[in-house]
Structure formats: structure tokens, C-alpha cells
Amino acid sequence: MTRTWAELLGDEEPEDTEPEKKRRFRRLRSGLTKSRQAFARGLTGWRYDPNDLETWERLEEVLISADIGVETTQEIVERLEKRRPKTDEEVMEGLQDVLGELAAPEEEPRLHLDGTPSVILVVGVNGAGKTTTIGKLASRLRESGRSVLVGAADTYRAAADEQLEIWAERAGADFVGSTRGGDPAAVAFDSIAAGEARGRDVVIVDTAGRLHTQSSLMEELAKIHRVIASKLEGAPHETLLVVDATTGQNGLRQAKLFDEAVDVTGVALTKLDGTAKGGIVVAIGHEFGLPVKLVGVGEGIDDLQPFDAAEFARALVSGGGPDEDEPEG
């Protein structure tokens, strides 16, 4: 089952769900095609032989080359071995199941938008794609009938608030700007105040990219989180960590330290439209129980999708999805 935005947001399914699912799925698939081809290529011509060590090594290599990491790969292989698959097909099925289990530590992850307004704090390292993700998310939330305000609490990077303002305009969202070098916590505060005053449904707070190792900047982030929490009870309702799909094993450090600083509630995996496989989220799910909620599969405003772990795993592992014969969008 492919997940829809309505499922992600906990909304009633609109009547025309099927077309939306199809459209969405096509996009995800076309984004993933290259990843899937590369992944499948690693497994092509591979005949399963339980007694052949090379078979397992080959499998390990495929997983490692997807950035799943040595440790999580070993975990996957162990779980797979326990299932004692007898045929190639059983290996593939088992692999899909195990990958799904690990990447989706939470059943059917939702975006929790039950505040008035609901506050989404977006964090991540430099260049992960925070601002772009916010632009796309704002647009999707607008489509779902919600009013949105975005706050530019990235007061560090030159022209960051101009970039966000352009996205806000495209999405039809309100915008609260900032001055360079200003106090980001104050911008977050003002954004929520403005969201409350104007009766907006969702307030999304953008933050400056920072490396998780810069302790003073991580403290600043924790302060933003505190200010948001004290401004509005229950806020932030979601704290999304944005992770670039090309990220290697350092993604684990990012998840750990950002989670420690601001209590991350979900991951947005970006740039999945290249050849990078984004396997690091499987490791993140496995080690920290952080669910992936969103995936970015392109630069267009519609190229943000609810994450579907089983689908993600299936698309990565198999040569074709359930609707292989459907034309690509």
C-alpha cells in the first residue's frame, strides 16, 4: 500500500484518492528508478545458494553500497538468515520485510498537527535541503486545506530568508522574515505569535544549517526549541531532521546529536532522485527509532512525498514494483 498525504496528515481520504495515489507513486517511482536499477544491478544474475558464502558477501556488498552501514547490514543479514529462505524470491521478500521493519520503527508514521497552530521545527546540517523541503511541505499543507505561516529563523546564511520568502510565495503561505545576525529564537517566537494572531493552522520554523559538532550552535538550536515550547504548550508538535540521501555513515552522528539537542520526532529524506539510495535512514531507524516521514524526490514544488517504508524497501530491492507495466510519469 502506498501512503497518501491524507494518511500522513491523519485527514479523511478525499474522494479522488486513487488518482492521487497513482500520481504520487509514479513520482516516487520515477525518482527511485535510478536507485532501484543500481541496486538491482548489484543483485542481477545472483542465484541464491544457502551454502555459498559468496552469496551472502554479495548481499552484504549491495546493502553496504546503499549506505546502510556495516552494523545494520549485519543485523539485516542475521534476521534474513533466521528466516531460512530457500529460493531467490524468498530472499527478496525477506529482505523487503526486514528493511521495512528497520526503517519504520513506528507503524504508519503521521505528521502530528493537533495544535492551534501546530508548530513544525525543521533542523539539519548545512545543505541538507531544509528550506526547499519547507517550501514543498508548505505547499502540500496548503493543498490539504490548511493555512500556513513560515518563519525564517535562519539568521546566519546570507540571503536565507529571501530564499524562504520565494518558496513561501510559491506555496501561498505567510512569511515572517528576519534580519541577518538576529536572534533566531526571537524569530521563532514572533512566527508563532503571528501564527496565533492570524489564526493560521500550521507554523513552520526554518533554522540555519549547522554541523552537529558545533556545540554552541547546537545550544542555540536547543534554545530555539525551548522558546517554542514555552511560547505554546505542546509545541513544537513536530521536529523534523532533514537528511540528504547522499549522506554516509555520518548520518548516524547527525541523528544522535540533533535528537539529543531538540528531541527529533521524524526524518525528512531529501534528494532521493539521484543514484544515492538513502540507506542511512534504515540505520537511523534501527539505531534511534526515528521514523522517516517525508521523502524529497526532485526540485519541483510537488516533489515531496509521505515516506512508505515497505514501498521504499520494495522499490530498492526489487527490479520492479507492483505496477511495473504502468508508464512512467
Partner: protein, 446 residues
């Protein structure tokens, strides 16, 4: 207290010191650990395979020397091979005989091209005395041009922007004309981030390359990149034939194996490393430092060598014995401090200690800041140095006056010594010292 890789190797190899050669079995065991370490550092698995094969051969031929344990021996060989592999090729930029020299920057979205453009311009202006300019050819990302323009102002480098066209090839062509007309030595061309599989955008990059005929094409690579780095590098290499790499975000704690992958598959050298958010934090690349970083170890061997050079052997042994006994007077403090100073700047010395590299992230170690420490100790009497516990109120005031510091600073140092004594006890007992608290003391003064 040696780091995990050395330790693991030690574990599998045991103590074979002086037994001559490493056996095939030993080497195979060691190579398994090396393979894991490299994979965890994000070196591409194919590159790892080839690399391990080379190292294995060398290890089989190597004599086990007396001075190093077999584990260290293997680490040394791996380190040498890594350094050699990464150090090949010039790290210098080429300059055209007919200026302006064009430097084209390309890479994936978010790899850090715009920031790297500004950093490189500042580097060229300050370190090479050039007159650079930047062409703003990222017309994809919203406000990228504004970002570049603001950075340009900050570093006093002209940025050529056009708002009347959406064609980056045209902007590049026009910018080159401007640079020529204004007599700039170097034109840095900042381009939009693009996926290597996006044919349309890759064609556009090829067109910019044709139009500007750059002397240097640099791939901007995020040091946190994983296994995919080889695909990215191969595609960019095939289409725009880059001749060097700028490695960004190296101030994080990524081990940076992608740098090795890219070097191995394209043969192109890493030329610069970006080591912080400030615009002057761009450095020429050091292959040796990168090698030990990828292996996840401080530069153990260099540290051993430097320590041996800096300290007389018996003096060192005596100090070690005292430290292990948990005695640490101000005389020792001064001695070890001077010894460290002989080895080089404090930060680089501490960075060489395995396991401390990570703890030092985000901590500033300024040598000048620690000079006052020396001044205070020199203002103490011999008795005070040997028995620090006698230093009470009156003595503290006198020492502060004598060294030109404040009582508060003297207090800080006294506490620091106590901590250091604790730390040394930890080292003696094989635990890892908590250096941050110690360094934090030096920072309190600021």
C-alpha cells in the same frame, strides 16, 4: 589509550614483536579490520577491495620492526599507502598565462559551492595577492545570487550578476567579458547544484565549460557523502573533466572516506578543504591528515616520533612514572608543557592524540591564551611548585602580581592542575581523559 583501530588490530594480532614477518593468517585477520574501518568511514566498497589488496601484499613483505607492535606496523603501512594515494597530483591551482584565469565550480545541490566560491575568492585575494571576481551562474536556487552578492561584499570581491536572463551560459560569457574589461586576474564561476543524472543540467554545465574555457574545474564534494560519491565523481569526470576537488564541511566529524573514493576512481587530487563556517576557513589539503582521519585515528605514529624527538628519554620516563603514580606538581606541569610546545602548536599536538580529535571539535585551543599559564608557574617559588597545596590567599595574590595576571586566573590554574592530575591518573589507568573540561578552563578567560 590507543584508538579503536590500533586496538582491534592489536587484539587480532597479539604481541608478535620481534618475531620477524607477519604471517599470512595474521595479515588476513588484520585486513578484515581495515576493511571494516574503511567501510565505516564511507570509502566506497569497491575502492576498499582494491586498496586492501595492495596493502595486504605490502604487509606480507614487511619486516616487523622492534620498535612497533604488529598492530602499529599494519597501521603504519595502511597510513602510508593512504597518504600516498591521496597525495598524488598537484594541490595547487593552475593560473593561465593570459588572465583572467577561470575556475569553474560544480557539484551536487547542498555540497557548498556558493560558500566555497566566496572562500576561494578570499583565499586568492589574501594568500595569492590576486584580484578575483565571481560570476553568479546559479540561477536555479531561489536567492542564490543574493547570497553570493552579500558574501562578495563581505570579502570585497566583485560579483557579476544578471537579472535579465535565466541562461547561465549567457551570464558566464558576459561575466568573463566583464572580468577581462576590469582587469581581474581570476574569475570564479559559481554554478547551480545539479544531480549527475540530470542530463539537461549536465549539458548546461558542459556548455558553461565550453564558453568559459576554465583553467581549473573543481568538483565541490561534501565530506559527509557516502557510497554514492563514486557515481557522482565518475559522471562529473566524464562530462566536465574536473581536475581537482574542494572537500567541504570537514569541520564536522565525518571521517571523509568519500575523498578517498573520488581520488581513487578519478585520479584527481583534493586541492582544498573547507574547515569552518567563517569565510577564511579554507585550507590547502593535507593528505596525511586526511589519511589518519579516514582511519579514525589520530596520527599516532607522528605523535610517537615527535614525542621521541622532543623529550630526552630518561626525562620522559621519569615524568611518566610520576604521572602514573598520580603525582603532578607544577614543575611537571611546566616540563610537560614545554615538551608539548616543542612538538608544535598545542591544537595540532592534541589533535594527534587518538580519541581526542572528536573531543576537540568546537573547542578553540589558542597557544597565546596558554602563555599566561607559564607566566604564573614561573612566578611561583620552588617550594610552591613542588607542593601546590600550600598556595593560599597571600601567596595567590603575590603570584598574580608577579605574573601580571589576576587572582582569579591563578585560582583557575590551581584548579586546572588538580584536574590534570586526575586526568593523568585516568591515563595511567588506561581510561580516556576528559580534555574538554581542561580546555574549557583556558577559554573561561575570554
Amino acid at each position: 589509550m590507543f584508538d579503536s583501530l590500533s586496538e582491534k588490530l592489536q587484539g587480532v594480532l597479539g604481541d608478535l614483536r620481534g618475531r620477524g614477518r607477519l604471517s599470512e593468517e595474521d595479515v588476513t585477520k588484520a585486513m578484515r579490520e581495515i576493511r571494516l574501518a574503511l567501510l565505516e568511514a564511507d570509502v566506497n566498497f569497491k575502492v576498499v577491495k582494491e586498496f586492501v589488496a595492495t596493502v595486504k601484499e605490502r604487509c606480507l613483505d614487511a619486516e616487523v620492526t622492534k620498535s612497533l607492535t604488529p598492530g602499529q606496523q599494519v597501521v603504519k603501512i595502511v597510513n602510508e599507502e593512504l597518504t600516498a594515494l591521496m597525495g598524488q597530483g598537484s594541490s595547487k591551482l593552475a593560473f593561465s598565462g593570459r588572465p583572467p584565469t577561470v575556475i569553474l565550480l560544480a557539484g551536487l545541490q547542498g555540497s557548498g559551492k556558493t560558500t566555497a566560491s566566496a572562500k576561494l575568492a578570499l583565499h586568492l585575494r589574501k594568500k595569492d595577492g590576486k584580484a578575483p571576481a565571481i560570476a553568479a551562474c546559479d540561477l536555479q536556487r531561489p536567492a542564490a545570487i543574493d547570497q553570493l552578492e552579500q558574501l562578495g561584499k563581505q570579502i570585497q570581491v566583485p560579483v557579476y550578476r544578471r537579472d535579465d536572463t535565466k541562461d547561465p551560459v549567457e551570464v558566464a560569457r558576459w561575466a568573463l567579458e566583464q572580468a577581462r574589461a576590469q582587469g581581474r586576474d581570476v574569475l570564479i564561476v559559481d554554478t547551480a547544484g545539479r544531480l549527475h543524472v540530470d542530463e539537461e543540467l549536465m549539458d548546461e554545465l558542459v556548455a558553461i565549460r565550453k564558453e568559459t574555457k576554465p583553467t581549473n574545474v573543481l568538483l565541490v564534494l561534501d565530506s559527509m557523502t557516502g557510497q554514492d560519491a563514486v557515481n557522482v565523481a565518475e559522471s562529473f569526470q566524464e562530462q566536465v573533466a574536473f581536475d581537482g576537488v574542494i572537500l567541504t564541511k570537514l569541520d564536522g566529524d565525518a571521517r571523509g572516506g568519500a575523498a578517498l573514493s573520488v581520488k581513487a576512481v578519478t585520479g584527481q587530487p583534493i586541492k582544498f578543504a573547507s574547515t569552518g563556517e567563517k569565510l577564511d576557513q579554507l585550507e590547502p589539503f593535507h593528505p596525511d591528515r586526511m589519511a589518519s582521519r579516514i582511519l579514525g585515528m589520530g596520527d599516532v605514529l607522528t605523535l610517537i616520533e615527535k614525542a621521541e624527538e622532543a623529550a630526552e628519554e630518561d626525562e620522559q620516563e621519569e615524568l611518566e612514572a610520576r604521572l602514573k603514580a598520580g603525582k603532578f606538581t607544577f614543575d611537571d606541569f611546566l616540563k610537560s608543557y614545554d615538551m608539548m610546545r616543542k612538538m608544535g602548536p598545542l591544537r595540532s599536538v592534541m589533535g594527534m592524540i587518538p580519541g581526542l580529535g572528536k573531543q576537540l571539535q568546537g573547542v578553540n585551543v589558542d597557544d597565546k591564551q596558554l602563555e599566561w599559564v607559564r607566566a604564573i608557574v614561573l612566578s611561583m617559588t620552588a617550594q610552591e611548585r613542588a607542593h601546590p597545596e600550600i598556595i593560599k590567599g597571600q601567596r595567590r595574590q603575590r603570584i598574580a602580581r608577579g605574573s601580571g595576571t589576576s587572582v582569579q586566573q591563578v585560582n583557575q590554574l590551581l584548579n586546572g592542575r588538580k584536574q590534570m592530575e586526575k586526568m593523568m591518573k585516568q591515563i595511567g589507568s588506561g581510561k580516556q581523559p576528559n580534555l574538554q573540561s581542561l580546555v574549557a578552563q583556558g577559554q573561561m578567560r575570554r
